[in-house]
Assembly symmetry: C2
Homo-oligomer: 708 residues x 2
């Protein structure tokens, strides 16, 4: 990745000025200075407090103005009242500062005036070629530098997790909790309003940061999803990125005209974004950090089989249940493993699945079992559970587990649960300190293993549509859209919609206009019976209402009768209507109904939807979204996300459907949405997927344009 | 409930003998004696160690034999080697002991010999009218007596949760953890092998125990589910009972002949059992105790609207997501609440949903907000979140919350989250001690609120079938089954299956045997066209293969042709086959396909299944089970459990189906399974539910008998 180096001064500046430093211990800026100067984790380079009304704070000379601060000063932390921030930034720019963290709030988040003020900050940053973090953020912690620009009391434990939070208020709680939990961080960031530096800037930096092996994100909103898609795709291919997105279930869907529009939600779009970048999404804060903890120790989980080693059957059974909930399985010991363990474990111990050594298990039994299972080829990972017993010292159990893991080189995750309180605290701490991810409850361990599995087995990310779509006749489609917009129409006619689909190589049922009855018979014969006959008249919109539609017309004679009947009905109801003729349409049968739809999210741009069609779409509500355009492989994954995959494979002896054609159609619809920005919503509901090699037919396409 | 008093001596004995008491501190029995005599939580009545090789242990006179122990001695705790337990129990019986806890293992769990030994213990208990808890259990803790018969180090905190565990090994871990977590218990039980006293005996005792307000169960297997159903139904109507069942995802389904059999699992049966008793099932240990903690404080949650009060937007948004995941909603503040708070909260605070007082919120803001929301009629419960901030003392926040809750009398749950570590530990402890359920993460609080909602809004339990089913012609059905078994057939013919359904008032499509073509025409006219014609011959099993089935026969002429064709085909293929005639069948159309099935679980007895039918049953795998027989209301809930409810209500303009008839049919199938124990499996797949008031038709019933 071709990166600029402009973010380095936020993490490893040569020198720091704190502008707005206060002498009063109850002020936030005093807390910042304490962190910057802390005897244990203080910044190792020069720190210059700036305050015109003080000469010295915490033993440091205070400067009246940034212009008077001596070299080196690459980073300025600004915590002056909002109205003074712009001028302060200008002074920083003139002084040659490279990076500015604005802690002060009262900008965009406070309303339109704040927004104007914030825009001014961005302009100043640009003018002086400075980078701006914030405003309204708590800044940067880097435990390796070390550097802590926040006012949060204390420093996180050192570790290998980078955390980027879109909530500053959350940070104090997470730091405090993580210290008790024993989870450490490399970098801890609160990006505030993201006026300049955003998560899309920071991800590449964190990718290159050798101290960070896992990146965790707390996301409220991604300001530029398309840029994020590009950047994150590249980062997540190299380093695990885990995301916790809040506001997932916010109510208040916007009103829409199409099925797809109604089902599309902000959450669906974010899910699509994370999938298409290879980011693994989790549901809760503890899951985020528990999973990250595991990923700092192991990034491989080759299969789903996790062995459980326990001294208590109940927690073992609960762990097995939890593994299944998280998409994993309880491993069954290989015969050699059982043979190796049998002579050494208590006689009544269970050796197959789980390995239950019973309450009387001694510490050395743990060591033997872990060593044996690490060498068991039928096992992909190990979950060791210890429940405190009256006569066993949990610390010795810990030592045995640690020794075993260190003795047997194997690329398998081993995680531990010490299910208890004070009796196991020390054992758990020692195990964790030895690099073995440790939990209290088996359910948390299983959740973390599930995240690791999802990460390690994530599908390759590929968002580039195949070359074949380039054949699409974009100009033809664009012309139809232009014409409709020129006529102030936003709902395209069936014929227009079909023509656009044809331009993109998406077939619709055969259809031909017949002006006379014998012409209709000839068309019908060519399609094969039965057929549908529909009145074609620019003056009659609701054709069914005037008896203008006949379905299941089965033979020549019936076509003649239907043709005559339709014309007669139309004449009788609307004598002055212009009649172009009767449309004869292929009646497609035997296909599997699916829905392919598109919508244009104001924030995300074109979103593609796929799901089971017909009545099932309402019943199951099971649809999946992607950002368009997309690749063939991704289209295949859309199919696999839903029950459609099973249906298309052929249930109950039904012939398998033409999955290839469906995949191609999804890709083409995606390209269409990407190519023609005036398309607001599109529904192929249903799209009929015919038996293998017979293709698909879009039966009732609807395209709605953006009027504005 | 009419209860015997025989369990009282396990919890509140007049005196206790510990048989097998050891002088050696590393022995489990020494640990038991330490617990019994503990200066803080020791048993207040007399405790007599029994050991022929010691004169005194821990300052207590030791008796050589139970016969020499002075009065009073109602409870004996036995921890002698397995071979001596029977004799020891006999001595206890002779001595007039009322209750025995056998800690010793090596009985049923150790194999057939152990089972024989265990049966002997049960016989002795019966002979002497003693109750037996165990063997292979750790015994009883009652924090109110106080009494602790276990060897687990330490005593749980006192509290109002009763915990009954089928895993002894789990107990030490839970006690240790719960002390650190601040969760207290009234009773803590490990029932061991349940040779005599089972969870079905203990539930009524715990129902009556005034110290216990919530009952929690860790279940591995319920030995007598039918008894449990009866008992638990009554207990759970009075007190919340929460269950954590392990082994939910155990593989190894048994092979079955029917659809229902294949879908039935042990887990499905347990789920049915818990639902039909009003027990609320949870998934993890922490969810079990977190939920119980909340239920000790509140047993009412009238609606789904939970207000969130927070000083950090991120955790507030995460809490809202978690509420939705657990079936609850974020409450929106009433205008009066907003008006009341506006003048007092920080200007930038959000007041609607969630109430976000921002990082600068002072402790008194918490008090004001909690008071205002407690009085808000649009809110059913409150989740207060505090994330530690540099300048706010969490202990003062705690005090404000406690004061507010105490100041406003409202039957609404208030729960608190202190999201942090050391900075909030004391605040969290104080809040919890004041009776406000307190958590670290919002997700845990939301899960507990979800459990409370499920408990408070559980449907009324009613497992009694309605009177109407009494009309069923049991004798007719039983006679058909007997006849088939006499002929050594286990698969009933279509005609037999239909006759049994008719005996229970379950309709099948009209069907009549015609010997001649004009007879067939008359039958067909009576049913209405189209009809199905099927060859009827005892010598031809696969009728389709010989051209013996014609579907969609549409008029008189077609019936004549089909009749002749079927007979001719049969004669041509099997000239010597006996031909009884041709079956004319009503062709039911326009109904909604569902599946109603029954299976007989060796452990649970008759189980009833319901789900969406046809291809959807395979696609969705969405079926629900109940123990049969069942009530009409429960049958209705089966329908509501699945997507069938939506389908039957009429999707996309389809007419609503005859739900009443379906409910009745489910009840009748349940009664049939209960009445005729020889029925092993039954499938009505599909059962067609016709439009309202037109009833149902079981199209292709299959009944399989138990051959043995």
């Amino acid at each position: 990745m071709n990166k600029d180096n402009s973010l380095r001064p936020f993490f490893r500046p040569t020198g720091i000025a704190l502008i707005g430093a206060s002498q009063h211990p109850e002020k936030l800026s005093f807390g910042i200075l304490q962190n910057l100067l802390h005897p244990e984790y203080g910044f190792p380079g020069p720190v210059y407090p700036v305050n015109p009304r003080a000469s010295e704070i915490l033993g440091k000379t205070c400067y009246p103005d940034i212009s008077q601060v001596p070299d080196p000063v690459e980073l300025a932390i600004i915590i002056v009242p909002a109205p003074y921030v712009a001028a302060t930034m200008e002074a920083c720019g003139r002084r040659g500062v490279k990076a500015v963290i604005v802690i002060t709030g009262g900008f965009r988040e406070a309303g339109p005036d704040g927004k104007t003020l914030e825009d001014r900050l961005v302009a100043i940053a640009k003018q002086y070629d400075m980078r701006l973090m914030g405003p309204n953020g708590i800044g940067v912690i880097d435990t390796n530098t070390p550097l802590n620009t926040t006012f949060v009391k204390g420093m996180p434990l050192p570790g290998k997790i980078a955390f980027l939070s879109q909530s500053g208020a959350l940070c104090g709680g997470v730091i405090d909790w993580s210290k008790q939990r024993g989870i450490g961080f490399s970098v801890f960031l609160s990006v505030g309003n993201e006026a300049d530096v955003t998560e899309s800037d920071l991800l590449p930096y964190l990718q290159d940061d050798p101290g960070s092996t896992v990146i965790t994100l707390y996301i409220e909103e991604i300001h530029n999803p398309r840029r994020f898609l590009q950047v994150a795709e590249e980062v997540a291919a190299q380093k695990p990125v885990l995301a916790l997105k809040s506001g997932r279930t916010a109510s208040g869907q916007r009103a829409t005209a199409s099925h797809t529009g109604a089902l599309a939600s902000n959450d669906a779009a974010y899910q699509a974004l994370f999938r298409q970048t290879g980011i693994v999404q989790v549901d809760t804060l503890d899951e985020l950090f528990d999973s990250a903890l595991l990923l700092t120790a192991h990034q491989t989980l080759a299969g789903r089989n996790i062995a459980i080693i326990t001294n208590a059957g109940g927690p073992g059974a609960l762990a097995a249940d939890a593994l299944e909930r998280h998409g994993l399985h309880l491993a069954v010991s290989a015969p050699e493993t059982i043979a190796a363990l049998q002579p050494h474990l208590p006689a009544a111990a269970a050796l197959t699945a789980p390995i239950d050594m019973l309450g009387g298990a001694f510490p050395e039994h743990y060591g033997l079992a872990v060593k044996a299972v690490l060498q068991d080829h039928s096992t992909d990972g190990i979950l060791v559970i210890h429940v405190p017993q009256a006569v066993v010292d949990a610390r010795e159990v810990s030592r045995e587990i640690i020794d075993a893991v260190q003795a047997v080189p194997a690329d398998k995750p081993v995680v531990a649960c010490f299910l208890g309180g004070d009796a196991v605290t020390e054992a758990a701490q020692r195990t964790l300190a030895a690099g073995i991810p440790t939990f209290t409850f088996p359910s948390a361990a299983a959740a973390a293993l599930g995240t690791l599995y999802r990460w390690h087995n994530r599908p390759p990310v590929d968002n580039v549509p195949p070359e074949s779509v380039a054949e699409a006749d974009r100009q033809c489609a664009a012309a139809i859209v232009q014409q409709a917009l020129a006529e102030k129409r936003t709902a395209l006619s069936a014929a227009e919609s079909e023509a656009i689909l044809h331009a993109y190589g998406i077939p619709t049922p055969g259809s031909a206009l017949a002006k006379r009855a014998d012409e209709a018979v000839a068309r019908a014969k060519a399609f094969g019976y039965p057929v549908v006959l529909k009145l074609q008249s620019p003056d009659i919109l609701h054709k069914s209402d005037v008896g203008g539609v006949k379905v299941g017309v089965a033979d020549d004679q019936a076509v003649r009768e239907a043709f005559a009947g339709i014309i007669a009905n139309a004449r009788a109801t609307k004598p002055r209507a212009r009649i172009d003729g009767v449309l004869v349409q292929e009646m497609v049968s035997g296909g599997q109904e699916v829905i392919v739809g598109g919508t244009r999210d104001p924030h995300f741009g074109p979103l593609l939807m796929f799901g089971v069609g017909g009545v099932l779409v309402e019943l199951l509500g099971q649809v999946t979204f992607r950002l368009a355009p997309l690749s063939s492989a991704e289209a295949g994954r859309m199919i696999d996300d839903t029950a459609a995959a099973k249906l298309l494979a052929g249930l109950r002896g039904a012939p398998p459907a033409d999955r290839d054609a469906l995949r191609q159609t999804i890709v083409r619809v995606g390209q269409l949405l990407a190519d023609i920005p005036q398309i607001a919503e599109l529904d192929l509901n249903p799209l009929l997927v015919l038996p293998a090699s017979r293709g698909v037919r879009a039966v009732d396409p609807r395209i709605i344009l953006n009027g504005s």
